[in-house]
């Protein structure tokens, strides 16, 4: 069949994630408690994951294992759910998070330019975290602050960025918010 395609180079094959660590996986009393409170119902999985993420900032594998056991759910189902929803994080979050809204109202008012500026500045693509874990750049799709468009959320605080059309002023403003300057902007 002529639908042939080259095989990816062996070096490029991504690694599978290792098995969850051998650590005590039913040992987190906080998680055990919240699951008891919730009634050990499998259909409450998403609620439970929300609360686990509140405790840890993300969903560590040992915690997922504990949740699966306590709710008597297959491991792959728990992982399937945890990885499906955008708001669940499977990796520890970055220290600082800058999220730019790319909802339609923000897009129409220059959100794309704001995002491009942030990408340049942080040296990150959207939804990427810096290797040192200090900064993450995320993308949002409409947080309902359309009246302030375009907006960005810096460590949980919402800012309106009206200066997208003036790169210099925008840059100064971003500096004043404490965003590190990327290599390219200097």
């Amino acid at each position: 069949m002529s639908a042939a395609t080259p095989v990816p180079a062996p070096g490029a094959v991504p690694q599978l994630h290792p098995q969850p660590g051998p650590g005590p996986c039913d040992g987190d009393e906080r998680i055990a408690r919240l699951i008891r409170r919730q009634g050990c119902q499998g259909d409450g999985l998403i609620e439970v994951l929300h609360q686990v993420q509140e405790i840890h900032g993300y969903l560590p594998k040992p915690a997922l294992l504990q949740v699966a056991r306590a709710l008597r759910l297959p491991l792959s189902r728990v992982y399937g759910v945890a990885s499906f929803y955008h708001l669940f994080r499977l990796q520890a979050p970055a220290t600082h998070r800058c999220a730019v809204c790319l909802g339609t109202a923000c897009f129409v008012r220059g959100g794309g330019r704001l995002a491009a500026g942030l990408q340049r500045r942080l040296g990150l693509a959207l939804n990427q975290t810096r290797d040192d874990g200090a900064w993450a750049l995320e993308q949002l799709s409409c947080i309902g602050a359309c009246g302030q468009a375009p907006v960005l959320v810096l460590d949980g605080v919402l800012f309106s960025a009206p200066l997208v059309d003036q790169p210099k002023a925008l840059d100064r403003w971003l500096t004043s918010l404490g965003l590190p300057a990327g290599v390219e902007t200097r």
Partner: protein, 238 residues
């Protein structure tokens, strides 16, 4: 048992009430291409190859997941449907890394069969060359994600027939992939009974037995239905 009658591509056919359109089409001696559907597994209507036209309706119906009803007039092979099916197969080929010449399933692959059936010899859409892994950690079987078409037959057979639920789908959209356990190596997942049902039902060369090399795969998609019949109706197929 009550019977309903309907018309498929001009042929009248009678089937037991509760039958799917796919069963009715087959009862009429006709066929439509299918990939995700498999007798014995609950239908999901995901591959969209079995879509048919229903007279008097704008919407296309997935034959595998639609119940036949009295008096329906169905078309299975119009020019429009042929065009859509071809395009769907092109999309399958473009989104994965399918190299038939080196594949363990060459000659027994259902994706390949469908491509032939719909006359797809090349994709109009650029190949995506996604980076995908191969999991050879299981002592007897391998999973090559490059060839997976996300039909979820393996997920369903493991859950619905074997009861182990080793597999599920992770991520979403074009990042979707089959996962074992908590995104573990297959060989490390305790829940796996090594029954091989997932390998039996996989329509492509994604799941295969390690001893098989190029063009040596012997799939047994019929086993899901046989097991279900044995379990529910106490009927065996010796």
């Amino acid at each position: 048992m009550s019977v309903i009658t309907l018309q498929v591509d001009g042929r009248d056919v009678a089937v037991p009430a509760g039958s799917t359109l796919l069963q009715a089409i087959r009862a009429a001696g006709l066929s439509v291409p299918t990939l995700c559907d498999l007798e014995g597994l609950e239908p999901v209507g995901a591959c969209r190859l079995c879509l048919v036209e229903l007279e008097g309706s704008q919407r296309l119906l997935p034959a595998c997941a639609s119940e036949a009803s009295e008096g329906q007039v169905i078309r299975t092979d119009t020019a429009q449907l042929q065009g859509y099916r071809r395009m769907a197969v092109e999309l399958f080929f473009a989104e994965g890394n399918h190299v038939c010449a080196f594949c363990v399933a060459n000659g027994t692959c259902e994706l390949q069969d469908v491509a032939v059936a719909v006359g797809m010899d090349h994709s109009r859409f650029p190949y995506q060359y996604p980076q995908r892994a191969v999991d050879a950690s299981h002592p007897r079987f391998s999973l090559d994600h490059n060839r997976c078409i996300l039909c979820t037959r393996c997920v369903r057979v493991c859950d619905q027939i074997e009861g182990a639920h080793v597999w599920d789908v992770a991520e979403r959209g074009s990042d979707c992939r089959i996962v074992a356990g908590l995104d573990q190596h297959w060989g490390e997942v305790d829940a796996c009974t090594s029954c091989g049902k997932c390998v039996d039902v996989c329509p492509t060369g994604a799941l295969y037995a390690k001893e098989d090399t190029t063009a040596e795969k012997h799939p047994h998609p019929e086993r899901a239905g046989q097991l279900r019949r044995a379990r529910e109706q106490r009927q065996w197929t010796p």
